[in-house]
């Protein structure tokens, strides 16, 4: 038996030329950007015109390349300056001390979008770690948002009570909405993917009902819009209302969730049960872990976090819910599935993944505004990243990476039949 041998020390290059999760994620980002560049180059009219010219004369080749690089460069520059910082503006603020709010707006927007995304993605990630698919996080966030908005707008009390109660309302709403599929799976075997997916439609219907019904509908409004929350119930902007920066105290809520998730997954015996169940359900059973209680608990926690994300979204941005709440592009509960995957279901991984997705979304809007390249490009880049992260074999082949030595990290969950 040779398994007692110590592992050989690996050089820095050897370490980074292996397919470790971080290397794969970084290379997937790179591939996403390359793929995005190809899309820009093949769809942008100016670029195509420049290339068409080389059919007449090869002399047009430098020009064509130039136009291509300029367009791609401009698009990516806009994504960066729109989501992180504009270096010129930053330098200006730094030297003159003026215009800080403007300079910080992109970062503030990215953080604002990332905050609820982190929370809901951790909810989804916790479920993944237990081998459960919570596809209904968006609906749970919707219910959390509604319940939070109801408490925030229809009850009146001082901030010290009102804000915690509002957040708690969101958690309870999400828990309720998550518990139902959990109970259905635990006691009848109904597959959670189907049930949670369908629950999203139920919650949309409920949302429309709520914002169009008398007690909750904004007084004097005919439209699908709910009441506005009291100032005592909202997550105020971190730098005051006057700064114009939307980043709110919600980031502390997200930070608390990250710490909670770290404790839950890495430190607690409950999380140990979750991970054992996710990694090997039969061994979990043989070790005395009750699958039922794990399923129900996971869905309570996952739904609770989704609900919290919903209320954080409302309380830190619009302060009311309307018929378009978390619909379409804003459906963070769906984005959360890919974010959790990209972040390997680990709390800090999810933070980085959320920031990346938020930045691509926010920066993409800036790019659309200034270059006319549609926002969908950001979605394409996000999708390509996730595609490559989900299939490390591809990345390994493309970059000829060596197999990573086995680590204790368990990424994917069990599949459909589980």
């Amino acid at each position: 038996m040779s398994d007692a041998a110590a592992p050989p020390r690996r050089s820095l290059w050897a370490r980074y030329s292996t397919a470790s999760p971080i290397v794969v994620a970084a290379l997937a980002l790179f591939l996403g950007l390359v793929f995005g560049a190809l899309i820009i180059a093949t769809t942008n009219a100016a670029v195509l015109d420049a290339w068409r010219a080389i059919f007449h004369s090869w002399g047009g080749l430098p020009h064509a390349l130039n136009v291509t690089f300029n367009n791609v460069g401009a698009a990516y520059r806009d994504i960066f300056t729109g989501s992180v910082v504009d270096p010129q503006g930053f330098w200006h603020s730094l030297t003159t001390g003026k215009g800080w709010p403007n300079t910080l707006t992109p970062l503030s927007e990215t953080l604002t979008y990332a905050t609820p995304l982190v929370i809901v993605s951790i909810g989804v990630g916790v479920a993944f770690q237990a081998g459960l698919f919570n596809i209904g996080a968006n609906g749970q966030a919707v219910i959390g948002g509604i319940l939070g908005a109801v408490i925030g707008s229809m009850l009146h009390m001082p901030t010290i009570l009102h804000l915690p109660l509002t957040l708690l309302g969101g958690i309870v709403g999400g828990m309720f909405c998550g518990a139902l599929p959990g109970l259905l799976k635990a006691y009848t075997g109904a597959h959670e993917v189907i049930v949670t997916l369908m629950f999203n439609y139920v919650t949309y219907a409920f949302l429309l009902y709520a914002v169009l019904s008398t007690p909750f509908q904004q007084p004097g409004q005919e439209n699908d819009i709910g009441r506005t929350m009291d100032r005592s119930a909202i997550l105020a902007p971190l730098f005051g209302t006057k700064s114009g920066l939307r980043v709110s105290y919600g980031i502390f809520v997200a930070a608390a969730v990250v710490v909670f998730a770290w404790w839950l997954l890495d430190r607690s015996s409950l999380g140990f049960d979750f991970r054992v169940t996710g990694a090997n359900p039969t061994a979990a059973r043989a070790s005395g872990i009750s699958a039922r209680s794990v399923i129900v608990t996971v869905f309570l926690i996952s739904g609770g976090l989704a609900g919290l994300a919903g209320v954080v979204q409302v309380a830190s941005t619009t302060h009311y819910v309307d018929g378009g709440f978390l619909i379409g592009n804003a459906g963070i509960g769906f984005t959360a599935i890919t974010v959790a995957l990209l972040g390997r279901n680990r709390p800090m991984g999810i933070v980085w993944a959320s920031l990346l997705f938020a930045a691509l979304g926010v920066g993409g809007r800036n790019m659309q505004a200034s270059t006319g390249i549609p926002l969908d490009l950001a979605t394409v880049i996000q999708s390509v990243i996730v595609l490559f992260v989900a299939t490390p074999v591809l990345v390994k082949e493309i970059f000829r990476l060596k197999e990573a030595p086995t680590t204790g990290i368990h990424l994917s969950t069990t599949g459909w039949g589980a």
Binding site: A4, A279, S287, I289, G408
Partner: protein, 504 residues
């Protein structure tokens, strides 16, 4: 057919699975390839059969170097393989399975069943492999299914048969008849390459024995060589083949099972009214061919399968239909049959696996937060005490060899305070050294007064460990006998004969 392998070498990354293996099988010879699990036997066969490409070396058939790129080519060259797990379609007839892929046809592409049946009858007669060509495979006992596999190879004009661990699933009587078949095939001029890790069989049947260890040929031996010599060649050190047990000194009754009835996954009765008693300081071995209800029986004991009727009493406490958690807490230790499926979480660390069923027990956790210091100290101690070979307690269980994975489970179960041990196939797939170790641990705890039930389909293991031997057949106990009873009698009980007829 004469087959020669010259310097066969196969690497998997940094691992050398086959290191310049050379051997020659003469026509009409039964050549035994003996080695532990993981010694490289399967790799060699896969290379020979064209399923893997060798890095070095050549295959020589009847003096001519032949490249073999795929299994079709291997078959055309006269090689036939009988896999450990049969490659048969259960709902087809014997004839249909044998001609599968090479069906004789009549006009309009209809299968000519009469011709197929005739061919098989002719083959069966020629090689004395009686089997009804029209029988449905799933209705046949395992021994006959294996014959069908052999027939299938012969129908493709195989001149050299490779039998990969063919006796693992057979009763002693079926093994005897397989041996007969092998002898008659050899007499008819067929060459046989017989892969195994069982010493008794090798000695009984082989003309020549090649022993491989860690991918290398360590030597050849005559079948007259002693078992202990073969074992030490195989393992690379002296091995104790018998387990030394202290005197049989049973205490009070610990486990009492009465009229237990358990259903299998299809809802059919798998365990049919089993009653057994086990005392403290006693090992009750449950023998039987796989699939006679042992799996369901054990699952019912440990709470993983509902009990239809009957009772299980542990130290006077009724534990029938307990959940696994309550059964564990009641003091039932369990070494599961399939360690990778039921016993371990392979992606998790050795330390986590060592506390897999006690993560909440003090001092491993306090108020829901795990205490890693306590867990790690405990894991370090167990790794040391049970000689678990691992690079660290944080290494994933998947990085351990099969023997060491089993040691993790044995260490976990024997180190928490248990009243009774249920071990199901505790040494399946383990190398000789690990088998020795696991047996010693069980016997040691027996002398400290632990009662245990050891379920095994290996007769050697049953005889080595059991103070009493219960034999299970089709869900019933066909007899409880003393270990001094002859192998043949136990074999007959395993095949369903009554105690009287088995001569006990």
């Amino acid at each position: 057919m004469q087959l020669e392998l010259r310097g066969m070498t196969k690497h998997f990354g940094s691992l050398t699975a086959n290191d310049h293996i050379s051997l020659t099988v003469e026509p009409g010879q039964i050549h035994s390839l003996l080695g532990e699990n993981g010694a490289g036997k399967s790799t060699l066969m896969n290379v020979l059969f064209g399923l893997l490409t060798p890095d070095e070396g050549e295959i020589v058939i009847n003096g001519v170097v032949v490249p073999i790129h795929d299994s079709g080519e291997a078959v055309r060259r006269g090689l036939g393989m009988v896999h450990q797990h049969f490659m048969l379609v259960p709902v087809f007839t014997v004839a249909e399975n044998v001609v599968l892929g090479f069906e004789p046809t009549k006009s309009l592409d209809r299968i000519d069943y009469r011709k197929a049946n005739d061919e098989i009858r002719e083959l069966s007669q020629r090689f004395k492999l009686e089997v009804d060509p029209e029988a449905i495979i799933e209705n046949l006992p395992v021994g006959l299914q294996q014959r069908v596999e052999i027939l299938k190879a012969l129908s493709h004009d195989a001149e050299l048969l490779i039998l990969d661990e063919p006796t693992a699933v057979l009763t002693p009587q079926e093994i005897d008849s397989l041996m007969e078949i092998m002898r008659s095939l050899a007499a008819a001029g067929k060459s046989i390459l017989f892969i195994t890790h069982k010493l008794k069989e090798v000695k009984e049947i082989a003309d020549v024995i090649t022993v491989i260890r860690q991918g290398r040929v360590v030597g050849t031996a005559e079948p007259t060589a002693s078992e202990s010599m073969l074992a030490s060649m195989m393992v690379g050190r002296e091995v104790q083949l018998t387990v030394e047990k202290s005197a049989y000194n049973p205490g009070e009754e610990v486990l009492e099972i009465r009229d237990l009835v358990v259903l299998d996954d299809r809802g059919l009765v798998a365990v049919n009214g089993v009653s057994l008693d086990v005392r403290a300081g006693e090992v009750l071995a449950l023998a039987g061919v796989q699939g006679n209800g042992q799996t369901e029986f054990v699952e019912a004991l440990v709470g993983m399968r509902p009990v239809e009727s009957g009772t299980i009493t542990l130290k006077g406490r009724n534990i029938t239909n307990f959940t696994p958690r309550r059964a564990l807490d009641a003091g039932l230790g369990h070494i599961p049959e399939d360690r990778q499926r039921d016993g371990l979480v392979l992606t998790m660390s050795v330390a986590d696996n060592l506390v897999l069923n006690t993560p909440r027990r003090a001092p491993f956790a306090r108020r829901g937060t795990r205490n890693f210091k306590a867990v790690n100290e405990y894991a370090e101690r167990l790794v040391h005490d049970f000689d678990i070979r691992t690079t660290s307690i944080q290494a994933p269980a998947s990085s351990l060899s099969g023997g060491n994975q089993q040691k993790v489970i044995v260490a976990r179960e024997l180190s928490r305070s248990i009243e009774f041990l249920v071990a199901s196939q505790p040494t399946r797939g383990l190398d000789v050294g690990s088998i020795e170790y696991v047996h010693r641990q069980i016997v040691e705890h027996r002398s400290r007064g632990l009662g245990s039930l050891i379920v095994s389909s290996e007769l050697d293991e049953v005889l080595a460990l059991g103070d009493r031997i219960a034999v299970m057949f089709e869900g019933k106990i066909s007899g409880v006998v003393d270990p001094s009873v002859s192998r043949e009698s136990i074999g007959l009980l395993m095949a369903g004969t009554t105690m009287e007829a088995a001569g006990v």
